[in-house]
Amino acid sequence: MQDVHDNQAQGRRDFLKCMAWAGAGTLWLMKGGVLHAQPLGDGAQAAARDASFSFAQISDSHIGFHKAPNTDVGATFKEALALVKKQKPTFVMHTGDLTHLSKPEQFDTLAGLVQGANVGRVFYVPGEHDVIGDNGAEYFRRFGERQQPGGWYSFDQGGVHFVALINVLNLKAGGLGSLGADQLGWLKNDLAGLSSETPVVVFAHMPLWSVYPQWGWGTDDSTEAMSYLRRFGSVSVLNGHIHQIQQKVEGTITFYTARSTAYPQPAPGVGPGPGPLQTVAPDALHRYIGIRDVRHVQGKDALAVTEEALS
């Protein structure tokens, strides 16, 4: 693993500038309550050896998208799943925008690809592209967990508490992503019984921090959600939505956004809006695979959160 510390932010900016493409996904390794990210490729198995368990994150597959720079998002999604399968993660999470337009046939295509890849248990959260026109009815019918009427849920794995949040429904004019009072109330209760030593991983589609509100890259009421999480020694917040790697550390909370398996979006504020970066030549797409970006923070309990992502 290669660490890139904060003082190498310039390198990171350069990386983001030329950063292009979509990624296969990230393999997350839980080692003694510390979340490490690992390239989905050579070396992943060796790194995973001393991990208590691992899970893979894939995001923004946008099945149904068919334009530049990726006219075959099904193929790149399939590639990502093949890499995931090699690592034999305990489970897989998809952080939303399964489809491009919430069409039943797009959901079916995605479900077929996942089933065919035989990657084991997959946990989903919806993106705004998955809830168009029906408040997510087609999505929930196929991929919804039925713990709560609102669709949000939590589970425990290897001593780590996982929370799946939904922030793409009931969006208001001029607003950002939204969790809503019901979900916040549930979250508060869900976390109430846990000791502060419990590592917590929260995942949702839209960033739960203000990456770039002008483009809608944030969540209106995320501050309240974070207020429930601050007492924990290790919190990792994983999102998709912006099709690129961005990271922020706030005390013991590390926020991470993932790449897309479909197409990249521009860096915050670059260009008129957050549409697909079309200038990436098809043969250049995979050239960026293997780029790593790691930061880590030393918390007061010496808990480190390490992130590494690659195409």
């Binding site: 491009h100 337009l101 168009i132 208001k172 004019a173 809006g273 549409g275 079309q278």
Partner: protein
């Protein structure tokens, strides 16, 4: 003879006048029909509605055309008119505004995109 010629010429003028009138009338008909069918357009481009605010007379039909590479949804704030389906690149959506008022709308998948139709 002279009279006959004059008459002939007279009839020719009358005939030409009728033809001309006919042309004018058909042109009028088109003119009269246009205001009713006039389509007001809102472009969706670069994650924005353009014009952001559009004033139209009562009974106007407004058409949104998505020329972005991303899908967008025209959604009425407060459900004052029926929302569009997901508009992919090149798709359009039209609705007629029968009552005066201010109709705020946004894109339900990119809610920072907002616009207003003022119906007078």
């Amino acid at each position: 003879m002279t009279t006959l010629h004059a008459r002939h010429a007279h009839w020719m003028w009358v005939a030409m006048l009728f033809v001309a009138l006919g042309l004018v009338r058909s042109a009028w008909a088109a003119d009269v029909a246009l205001p009713k069918a006039k389509i007001y357009r809102v472009e969706i481009h670069g994650f924005a509605f353009s014009p952001k605010t559009l004033s139209v007379p009562v009974g106007s039909r407004v058409t949104w055309l998505n020329s972005d590479e991303e899908p967008h949804v025209v959604t009425s704030a407060g459900s004052l008119f029926t929302s569009s389906k997901a508009l992919d690149t090149g798709d359009s959506f039209s609705t007629t505004f029968q009552k005066p008022g201010t109709y705020a709308y946004y894109c339900s998948i990119h809610p920072m995109m907002v616009g207003t139709i003022i119906v007078q």
